[in-house]
Amino acid sequence: MAIITPRPQLTLAERLYLPAIVSGMWLTIRHFFVNLLGLKKKFTLEYPDEKCPPPPGCRGAPTLVRDEDGREKCVACQLCEFVCPPRAIRVTPEALPPGSRHAKIEKRPAAFEINMLRCIYCGFCQEVCPEEAIFLREKTILTGASRRELVHDKQRLLALGGSRPDSVKKWKDK
């Protein structure tokens, strides 16, 4: 069914356009001079020089973290690899060598790669991680000269992640 919207009946002043034009021009010229003379706080951030501080909860690049003792928290359960929607994560697990300080944890990633060209920053990996080992940190701007460079390996992920205190101490007395 056609819906007919009646056109508003314009008054003579409205049909003349001129009053509306004048009021509009008055508005814009006010803004012009206010900004020209710098009478108002500017909102624009001049990007490379001024950067917007990441808001709390900002989801930047996923990273691996260590606990306060410097232990890599990841135990290579591969849940992140499983949950990752764009399949950006690839984990190769291995058994911890018997002499290792953390040998009781038994398992660790031999290789941990996140392809940042595929990552969509959804944060599922952080959410699913049972060890609180993977965190999306503030780093949001990633650039590289090659595709290979943007596949973050374990070293790079750990370097980006830094350390976070272990709140659960799950493996403390294993």
Binding site: I21, G24, M25, L27, T28, I29, H31, F32, N35, L36, K40, K42, F43, T44, E46
Partner: protein
Amino acid sequence: MVNHAADIVVHWVQAGMATPWLVWLVITLMKCGAVVGVMMGMVAYTVLAERRFCAFIQDRLGPNRVGPFGLLQPVADGMKLFLKENVLPGHVNKVYYVLAPAITLFPALATIAVIPFGNRLGGEKMVIADLNVGILWVFSLAALGVYGIVLAGWASNSKYPFIGGVRSAAQLISYELAMGLSVIGVFMLAGSLNLGQVVEYQSHCWLVLKQPLGFLIFMVAMFAETNRTPFDLPEGEQELAAGYNTEYGSMKFALFFMGEYANMVVASAVMVTLFFGGWQVPFIPVEQWLGCSWLSGMVYIGCFLAKLAAFLFLFIWVRWTLPRFRYDQLMNLGWKVLLPLGLLNILLTALVLAGQR
């Protein structure tokens, strides 16, 4: 510098080293060079001004990176456009496609020839061609400007440019009528088609005061003729991608772009000349204070440029205030409002003139 150069020429003439026509040629070429140079500079900086002013109107900053206050931005833009690959799309009509940008820019540059931009400098009239039918020259060249756009739209062999071209043809033809009618009152009062004499006529009272309705119609028509908002239907980014210049890039696009701004400059110059006293300085008897010297000549030129700049600012100001007309509104305004008002203006002027006699 101009001063010094002119002195040399004068000296040269006095020394009898040149025949009069050669002197005339040299002086005219110097005027051409100066005018085109100043005009292209104005075009470049109008673009920058437009970008920065619209930013202020919108509470932004605008381009402020290249040089102090972004003053070198036009240089960077120009270099970018020069260095861009000159693409010739496969589906276009090649000859007209390449010709169209030149046809757009040329009339704008040619029109300025008859505009008197100053009184006299070293005895030389500050107008390139002191035509006795100056205004006809202006109108005929303005009419030529349409061809560039229509040709671009047609030669691009693409739907958006085509629609843009068709719109511009309809729009420019419609508003040329109103434009022509609106200035008839001016010439009825001034009694001459020579723009220099029109300026002289305004030495006591600007014509805008005697012809307010004519000025209003003329200004609206000028906005339409230059394809500026609220009459930028041929470009209409939201509907037509970029309208007639959709298929253009690099230097060819730059020519269109320069053409638009050159048209703005010319339109402002014509308005200043016809309605705002041209190079005349209001209220101040310049020649009584400074004598008939080089200095006063420069003051007149400066005054002309200042008025020009004010109009350019108006163009920018309007563009970032008013939304675009709908097509039917555009046609309504042109044919049903401006055209009758133009006729009315002629009638009123004629009646007043008849009454005075």
